[in-house]
């Protein structure tokens, strides 16, 4: 079926197959390979994107259900040649990125959190990212990155 979906601010018309996931649509057909597939089962959060501003697991979300809605991926956070967001900058500087495979998902979840809470507590940050598994960092530097980003926005 033919749908229209806004991806990173651009309206795209795409033909989607019945069982196609949003992640497959983004990665394999729209060439947006930032969102990652870590499990295909809604467990790891590597595929997290924003749907109308709310984080979802794109690996289990039907592409067809995105008709008329707005999807933001990690590629849409900052212009390709423009400045990083405060959170992206803080991720790099605080050591929140190691292998980086979880990073796009974490960034999406945390951008959504920061849109709602200007200065979340550490406990709020940890609760927000409970669905984003990071195998590398042990999470402390991710928490630090949020604090740094909050500080930078002040």
């Amino acid at each position: 079926m033919e749908i229209e979906v806004t991806v990173n601010g651009v309206v795209r018309g795409v033909e989607v197959r019945p069982h196609e996931t949003l992640l497959a649509l983004l990665r394999d057909r729209l060439g947006l390979r930032g969102a990652k597939n870590g499990c295909s089962e809604g467990e790891c959060g590597a595929c997290t994107v924003l749907l109308d501003g709310a984080p979802i697991d794109a690996c289990i979300y039907p592409a067809a259900a995105c008709a008329g809605r707005s999807v933001t991926t990690v590629e849409g956070l900052a212009p390709p040649d423009g400045e990083l967001t405060a959170l992206q900058r803080a991720f790099v500087d605080s050591g929140a990125v190691q292998c980086g495979f979880c990073t796009p998902g974490l960034l999406m979840t945390l951008h959504a959190l920061l849109a709602e809470r200007a200065a979340p507590s550490e406990a709020e940050v940890r609760r927000a990212i409970v669905g984003n598994i990071c195998r590398c960092t042990g999470y402390a530097h991710v928490v630090d990155a949020v604090a740094q980003a909050v500080g930078a926005r002040r």
């Binding site: 947006l32 390979r33 930032g34 969102a35 990652k36 597939n37 870590g38 499990c39 295909s40 089962e41 467990e43 790891c44 590597a46 991926t73 990690v74 590629e75 956070l77 900052a78 390709p80 990083l84 992206q88 991720f91 790099v92 500087d93 605080s94 050591g95 990125v97 190691q98 292998c99 980086g100 495979f101 979880c102 990073t103 796009p104 960034l107 940050v125 940890r126 609760r127 990212i129 409970v130 984003n132 598994i133 990071c134 195998r135 590398c136 960092t137 042990g138 999470y139 402390a140 530097h141 991710v142 928490v143």
Partner: protein, 780 residues
């Protein structure tokens, strides 16, 4: 004053990663690429009776179906050559490849796999360690005696025992017969899955007699060699190109999908992409081995360790992989940190009909240190001794030798580790309160010595190019460490060091990201290469400035006159001058760590004989147990780690925090249980990885004892922080509930059972525990 080393320089691939534009293995797309997948055995032990691929081949879009009948199927391996490409005719583990299929689309691929008719006759599985060792056990490898070792080395092996290490100082039995106390324990540990977030993936191309493999792999040169030997071609006919790696932790050191992708690419004449699904990845990742450790100690009246009898049996799974090497690890767990008197050590790596085990960060050390440290706590409890005191009494001193005869020249650092931890939080002050406990664990760990190389070039714009096949699996060893070393050597900003991705056609050999070797070993190669660039740059500038090179130095992106920095040449100018006078400036460097001396006769089966560039570690865990659920919460976690020299403070803390998180997962939540040779867990959902709300912030103390043989003194950092965690946590939990916890992982059920077995009174456990802590406080 340094310009780069010792600073928290951000990783060079950080921006690409936060923008989502870093190319990982899973992101590689090539023109004309098709898809490949494996038909994997659904049972752990069987004979392949027949394979009918007719229907599978007829699916529209299917390009090739290959089985053991279509290839040479020669057995290969990284230690013992015992592993064929395809199960043919024997299936030895669930998940073993039986056939490989390539198709235009993923849909056609799946349909084809579903139509493959494989007739299997199931055979009794060698399901666990005990049955593998039984005298009448079926053989996982009926042809075991015919296998050759890759290096030509021989070691004791027989039937289902793929390697046996044995070492005996003598005098053990006498010590036991006259001992005042004998304490014996048996410890068990289950498997652990590396669970890198990026699953195994490979894209292969074939053309004009050469293979190109696109991988996200910790050890591209091993992929080259392993693919070449499996396919029977020369290594130089295989080119391996590395991409960003979404985590490895040891799971990406040996090959997995790469030889099959190469075979399929040759068969279909198009690029073939293969990617493990998560369950497939979990089932076949060469995870950390399960093991049983029995340890018996002879003690004097006052609690002096007189002798130790240490016996390890671990599960190699269906193939050897690196198990013959890992069988040596007990030699570095017993008698390395603590004097144990006379010692007998036996370790057997055993074949079973289960998924092969392999390398996982902190190989074997996790459960060996768990056994040693738990045993010490048990001894302290039996004899009414203070746990910390018991350790300090037996701590190795500088100049003493490990069981392998290797001298630990700087073992006094251990004492410093204990002192620093005590300054931060006195041991006897922790774990106070109901259901709370504290534990400690120490270890010595190596820095892997294997060879590495680098080329450094001065680019025409004054930036520095660094070409190496060393891989950054996320640790920062390349994107921070090597880059900082090159910057420091040449006096440029670390941002001006541009690093190539690994490519076996382009770079000299590199032994992969393992054993924390990269910053130390490849760092030496980078230093040597940069040294040559520096000499040449100074010579070129000296000519131009008509001054002696001895009066010049490199700083701030220039060659400048010592004491008169305004007389200078920008590096860009130097590079251009050089091009016209003798050619561009490049330098190459190579390095491998010299092997420390040891006693070759100390053991038989000692394939991994030394611990080069040792580092020292002490971990302290404070926990609280929930008596109604059995859940364990980690309240405080302290790491004192000797690192030689901190090259990148943020990077070092990040490696320690991340390593501890993996150790906590191993100790408490991650569970890969075998039943009849098959895994009970198949998904992330059932496996239990540590989440953001589980992992405490680790308190890190780094000790710096620069190694004169290392770049800026830096030793290995990233591997060891996972090693003592389970030991420290298990000791803390045992302290909290007043019962011995002897199995990893420490599941809530086990905690509840332990509580219940104490006369049904959790409160009694607390009483016992507090009594123990009180005694310690009194003794301290």
């Amino acid at each position: 004053m340094t310009v780069a080393v010792g600073r928290s320089v951000a990783r060079s691939d950080g921006e690409a990663k936060v923008r989502g534009v870093a190319d990982y293995g899973v992101d590689v797309v090539l023109p004309g690429m098709c898809h490949g997948a494996l038909w994997r055995a659904p049972v752990p032990s069987a004979r392949v009776v027949s394979i009918d691929a007719e229907a599978a081949r007829r699916v529209p879009g299917v390009l090739a179906v290959l089985t053991g009948a279509d290839v040479e199927n020669r057995p290969t391996g990284i230690s013992l050559c015992d592993q064929p490409l395809f199960a043919w005719p024997l299936v030895r583990y669930e998940g073993e490849p039986v056939a490989a299929v390539a198709a235009e689309t993923v849909e056609a691929l799946e349909e084809s796999l579903g139509l493959l008719r494989v007739e299997l006759a199931e055979t009794p599985a060698v399901a666990d360690l005990a049955s593998a060792l039984a005298p009448d056990a079926p053989l996982v490898h009926p042809d075991w005696a015919s296998y050759a070792s890759l290096s030509g080395a021989q070691w004791p092996r027989e039937r289902n025992v793929v390697c046996e290490l044995f070492s005996d100082t003598g005098g053990v039995d006498q010590a036991f017969s006259s001992a005042a106390h004998v304490v014996e324990d048996t410890y068990r540990a289950d498997r652990q899955y590396q669970a890198s977030l990026e699953p195994h993936v490979a894209v292969a191309e074939y053309g004009a007699g050469r293979f190109t493999l696109h991988v996200a792999h910790q050890f591209p040169f091993n992929v080259r060699d392993r693919v070449a030997s499996a396919l029977g071609v020369r290594p130089s006919e295989v080119r391996v190109v590395g991409h960003h790696i979404g985590g490895g932790f040891g799971a990406k050191l040996d090959v997995s999908l790469e030889p099959y992708a190469a075979l399929l690419a040759r068969a279909v004449g198009r690029p073939v992409r293969m990617e493990n699904g998560r369950s497939e990845d979990l089932m076949t990742a060469q995870c950390r081995e399960n093991a049983v450790v029995t340890i018996r100690s002879a003690l004097s009246e006052s609690g002096e360790l007189l002798a130790c009898d240490f016996d390890v049996v671990f599960d190699s799974g269906a193939y050897a992989i690196d198990a013959p090497y890992l069988a040596s690890m007990p030699m570095f767990a017993v008698g390395s940190i603590y004097r144990v008197g006379q010692a007998r050590v036996r370790c057997r790596a055993v074949y079973t009909n289960s998924s092969p085990t392999g390398a996982f960060r902190g190989v074997s050390g996790t459960y060996l240190v768990f056994a040693v440290e738990r045993h010490l706590d048990h001894i302290a409890r039996e004899l009414g001794l203070d746990r910390r005191e018991l350790r300090l009494r037996h701590l190795r001193r500088s100049g003493e030798k490990m069981l392998n005869g290797q001298t630990l020249a700087d073992a006094d650092i251990l004492r410093e580790c204990f002192d620093r931890a005590e300054e931060l939080a006195p041991f006897s002050s922790l774990g106070k309160g109901p259901y709370r406990g504290v534990g400690m664990a120490a270890c010595v760990w190596l820095t892997n010595p294997l060879a590495g190389s680098a080329v450094v070039k001065l680019n025409e714009d004054g930036t520095v190019g660094l070409v190496t096949a060393a891989t950054d699996n996320g640790s920062g060893a390349v994107t921070m460490g090597l880059r900082q070393i090159a910057a420091e050597e040449l006096g440029v900003d670390a941002l001006d060091v541009v690093i190539s991705m690994p490519d076996t056609d382009v770079s000299g050999y590199d032994a992969g990201s393992q054993g924390s070797r990269t910053t130390r070993v490849v760092g030496m190669a980078v230093k040597a290469a940069a040294e040559r660039v520096r000499e040449r740059a100074l010579a070129v500038a000296a000519d131009h400035l008509e001054i002696s090179p001895a009066d010049l130095e490199l700083a701030a992106g220039s060659v400048q006159v010592r004491g008169a920095p305004s007389r200078r040449l920008q590096l860009a100018e130097v590079a251009k001058l050089a091009a016209a006078h003798g050619g561009p400036i490049t330098g190459a460097g190579s390095y491998s760590t010299p092997m420390p001396a040891y006693a070759p006769t100390c053991a038989t089966g000692l394939l991994f004989p030394v611990f080069p560039t040792p580092t020292y570690h002490l971990h302290v865990a404070e926990v609280e147990v929930d008596p109604s659920t059995g859940n364990v919460r980690v309240l405080r976690y302290i790491v004192v780690q000797e690192v030689g020299r901190v090259v990148n403070p943020t990077g070092v803390v990040g490696q320690i925090q991340g390593g501890v998180a993996q150790g906590l997962g191993y100790a408490l939540w991650e569970w890969l249980a075998l039943e009849g040779g098959r895994y009970r867990q198949r998904t992330f959902e059932s496996y239990g990885l540590p989440l953001s709300v589980d992992v405490p912030r680790v308190e890190v103390v780094t000790l710096e004892h620069p190694d004169p043989e290392s770049p800026y003194g830096a030793k290995g950092v990233a591997e060891p922080p996972v090693v003592p965690v389970a030991a420290a946590v298990a000791n803390a939990v045992s302290d909290a509930i007043g019962a011995e916890i002897n199995c990893i992982p420490i599941l809530p059920e086990a905690v509840l059972d332990a509580l219940a077995s104490q006369d049904g009174a959790g409160a009694r456990g607390v009483h016992l525990s507090r009594g123990g802590a009180g005694a310690e406080a009194g003794g301290a």
